[in-house]
Each structure stands twice: as structure tokens, then as C-alpha cells.
């Protein structure tokens, strides 16, 4: 019998340990609605996206919680199609024409049931745009142990996607994905906690980008992006939060994620944020992000007939690069005791610079696919 099992039994045998009336139920009996507007914009007249997101959460009875989430994305602008080599042998990125506006609508719903120490949830959703449809279902369990100092989390989801492409009627493909998360959240002491999660994802089907191509130098021809028919991804994220009472109850959040997939991409992500309360109900949150990734095995900026192979891609997202980002967020919370319990206003601005030269240990293939982007978000949240 394992040590943990023996101790649990011993605890039950100690005198005076009595199970109180076990009152199941979730903590928050409030209704909440959140509305967020977000804007994403890349440099050099590339892609621009506007996102509207509405979320509502309602308690049902003593144990159930239901939530509904609606998203509308509107995208426009140019995106990279392939890289070519000019007369001098320099690589240039070629973009699509910036005329199409694409709209995506998504709906997600979930239902959860709270026992005393266990929380179960199921959910599903769909996402639809003119050339891509995705449907998914998910389930999860959360188990609080140790007087709720330790929480074990396990979730799984399955998605089924249908892919077509404007201007390529021959593309009528599908893709299935499975994702699993296994993690633990542990309270370390009165002022800090740590969370560590591992996720595993398996994808099968059409994984290429139907709008991207690769350039073959010696023949000056182009062929379509062709990626493997399956992909395995592994990520390990660790998040640490620490409270600084002396700094007016500030909190430091530090995250590190290690990512490895079987296409040859290794990536590291570091995110730091500092939540600083100032004056009554206001918080200012500066944040910093560093990301670095290795290129995929079958990625090359341009190809030759001899190294083309059956699998090939010049997608800038599979290249070796690093990204440095910084941002700031401001929030104001109003607490009340009437019908409305709390109203929160939030606004944030973030800037990210993506460069091949920012990669750690890369071969710095050049700046032809470097770009930057900024994000602005604004939201209003209310609890009843």
C-alpha cells in the first residue's frame, strides 16, 4: 500500500476527526456577464482583426453553473503567401492582396456541477467562417485535496474541423484533434501558489495551410504548402504567483512554458506580470513576454528541386524566430451591495516584436519575415 493511502487511512482513525455536514455547492452564487472588444493589428498593412466577445455565467440551483460564450471576429488585410528570392539572392516575403474581409463566429457553452471537493464540467462549441468550420466537445474534472490546498485537474477535448479554401475548389478536407490536460495547483504558503500543467495534443488529417505556397529556386516555380498528416504536441506550463504585502498588496505572476512537437519545433515562453493595486479599486498591470521557437524540420525559406521532398513549408509561423512583447493593463473595480454586486472596467495595450534574430540558438535566417503587432482590449464585467 502506498504511503499516501496508508496516511489517509490513519487520518480517518484519529479520534475527533468527524465529517461535518458535507455541504456541497459552488462558491459564487452570482450571475456574471462580460463583454470585451479587442483589436489586433500587424505592421506594414498586414492583418487586422476586431473581436467582440460576450460571456454570461449563471448559477442554477445549489450545485450547477452554466456558461455561454459568443465571439465574432472580423479579419482583413494581407497575409504572407510564400518567400521568393530576388536577383541578388535575397529572400523576400510575398503577401496576398489586402482586399478580403473574413468573418468568424463562435459559440461555446458549458455546464458544471460542484460537489464538496470535486467539480465536474462538460462543454462544447462551434466556430464557423467561410472556409473553416470546427466543432468540439470537452469534459473536465477538478479535485480539491488537502483542505483545498491542492487541486488536481484533468481535462480532455475532441475537435472535428472541415476545411475549404477560397480559390481552390479542390480543397475539401477534414481534421480531428484530441487534447488532454493534466495538472496540479498547489498553495505553497499564505502568500504564494504554483500551478504546473502538462498538455498533450494529437492532430490528424489536413494540417497544411491551403493559402500558402513554397518557391522552388532553380525552376522558379511554386507548389502548395504540404505538411505531415499528423502532429503530436506536448507542453509543460508552470505558473507561480507571489503576494507582496508591503507593495500595497501587489502580486507577481511568472510563467514558463516548454513546448515540443514532432514536427521538430521546440519553443520556450516566459511571461511576467506585476499586478499593482493603486488607490481605491484601481490596478495597474505591466507585463512582459519572451518567446523563442526552433524551426520545423520541413521548413525552409525557399527550396530547390533537390531538397523539396514530399513535405515542405515556408510558413513564417514554422520558422525559427523569437518574439519580445510588453504591455500594460488598467482595471477599476466598483463594489456594491445592491442588485449589482460588482462592475469592473478594464483596458490593455500590448506590443509584440517578432524577429528571426530574437531566437535563442537560431541561425538567424534574416529579417524577411519579421513583423510586429499590437493588441488593444477593453472590457466591462458585471456581477449580480
Amino acid at each position: 500500500m502506498s504511503l499516501i493511502n496508508r496516511l489517509s487511512l490513519a487520518a480517518l482513525a484519529l479520534p475527533g476527526i468527524v465529517a461535518e455536514d458535507a455541504y456541497a455547492g459552488r462558491v459564487d452564487e452570482t450571475f456574471s456577464t462580460d463583454f470585451q472588444y479587442a483589436h489586433y493589428e500587424e505592421s506594414n498593412d498586414r492583418m487586422e482583426v476586431d473581436v467582440f466577445n460576450l460571456t454570461a455565467v449563471a448559477p442554477i440551483g445549489k450545485n450547477f453553473t452554466a456558461s455561454l460564450d459568443l465571439v465574432r471576429d472580423t479579419m482583413s488585410g494581407a497575409s504572407p503567401v510564400l518567400n521568393v528570392k530576388d536577383g541578388q539572392g535575397n529572400v523576400q516575403q510575398f503577401l496576398s492582396s489586402a482586399s478580403i474581409t473574413d468573418e468568424r463566429d463562435a459559440l461555446n457553452a458549458s455546464l458544471s456541477y460542484a460537489f464538496d471537493d470535486v467539480d465536474l464540467s462538460i462543454g462544447g462549441g462551434v466556430s464557423d467562417e467561410n472556409d473553416y468550420f470546427s466543432g468540439h466537445v470537452n469534459a473536465g474534472v477538478s479535485w480539491a485535496l488537502n483542505k483545498k490546498l491542492t487541486t488536481l485537474n484533468l481535462t480532455g477535448s475532441v475537435a472535428f474541423d472541415e476545411i475549404t479554401a477560397t480559390g481552390r475548389p479542390e480543397i475539401n478536407e477534414t481534421k480531428t484533434s484530441q487534447k488532454y490536460l493534466l495538472g496540479v495547483t498547489q498553495i505553497l504558503n499564505k502568500d504564494s501558489l504554483i500551478q504546473s500543467n502538462m498538455t498533450f495534443a494529437y492532430h490528424n488529417g489536413y494540417l497544411s495551410d491551403p493559402y500558402k505556397r513554397v518557391y522552388i529556386e532553380d525552376t522558379a516555380t511554386q507548389v502548395n504548402d504540404a505538411r505531415p498528416g499528423n502532429k503530436f504536441q506536448w507542453a509543460w506550463l508552470t505558473r507561480y504567483v507571489h503576494h507582496f504585502k508591503a507593495a500595497n498588496k501587489a502580486a507577481l505572476h511568472a510563467d514558463y512554458r516548454l513546448y515540443i512537437d514532432d514536427w521538430g519545433v521546440d519553443a520556450h515562453t516566459v511571461e511576467l506580470s506585476w499586478f499593482q493595486p493603486i488607490a481605491d479599486g484601481w490596478q495597474i498591470v505591466p507585463r512582459f513576454r519572451y518567446y523563442t521557437q526552433d524551426k520545423a524540420d520541413f521548413y525552409q525559406a525557399t527550396f530547390t528541386s533537390s531538397n523539396l521532398g514530399a513535405i515542405h513549408s515556408s510558413d513564417y509561423r514554422l520558422a525559427g524566430f523569437g518574439s519580445i512583447g510588453a504591455g500594460i493593463k488598467l482595471t477599476k473595480s466598483f463594489l456594491m451591495s445592491g442588485f449589482v454586486k460588482e462592475v469592473k472596467l478594464q483596458a490593455a495595450f500590448d506590443y509584440n516584436d517578432r524577429k528571426a534574430s530574437y531566437q535563442i540558438g537560431g541561425d538567424n535566417s534574416g529579417s524577411f519575415d519579421d513583423y510586429s503587432f499590437y493588441m488593444v482590449t477593453a472590457s466591462i464585467n458585471a456581477r449580480f
Binding site: 466577445n53 487541486t151 496540479v184 498553495i187 499564505k190 503576494h243 502580486a251 513546448y259 519545433v265 519553443a267
Partner: protein, 73 residues
């Protein structure tokens, strides 16, 4: 070589965590209950950020799960 590096990193993290472990009584969770201490304070913003980054980068995953906070019933 990579597997050993991962084992060493995880060992260091676990040791650091264990050494900082002290039992926290249910009434001592005031600081942990603050909104700035929550892992998921703004779900909509987190979803937007993660969607943006995995659309532009290869890496994705890791996020999710409950825990921390006031531990109330």
C-alpha cells in the same frame, strides 16, 4: 540529453516548491483570495491572447485548471 535536462529542471522546481510549503489554515487564505492572486482573473483576455499567440506561433497549450483562491465552500 534533453530528457536529463527536463528531469533536472523539474527536480529544481519541485524542491523549490516543497521547501516553501507551509500548511495554510482555511482562515489564513485572505491574501490568496485577492483578485490579483488569481490565475484566471480575466478569462476573456486570456482567451484572446492565447488565440492570438497560437495563430502566430507554433506553441500552444498548457493553460487550464482550477485552484488557489479562498478555498471557500
Amino acid at each position: 540529453m534533453k530528457k536529463n535536462k527536463i528531469k533536472i529542471i523539474s527536480l529544481v522546481l519541485i524542491l523549490a516548491a516543497v521547501s516553501a510549503c507551509t500548511p495554510v489554515k482555511p482562515w489564513e487564505r485572505g491574501n490568496l483570495a485577492l483578485s490579483q492572486m488569481a490565475l484566471d482573473a480575466d478569462g476573456q483576455e486570456a482567451a484572446f491572447r492565447q488565440h492570438t499567440f497560437y495563430s502566430k506561433e507554433s506553441a500552444s497549450g498548457g493553460y487550464g485548471g482550477h485552484g488557489g483562491g479562498c478555498g471557500c465552500n
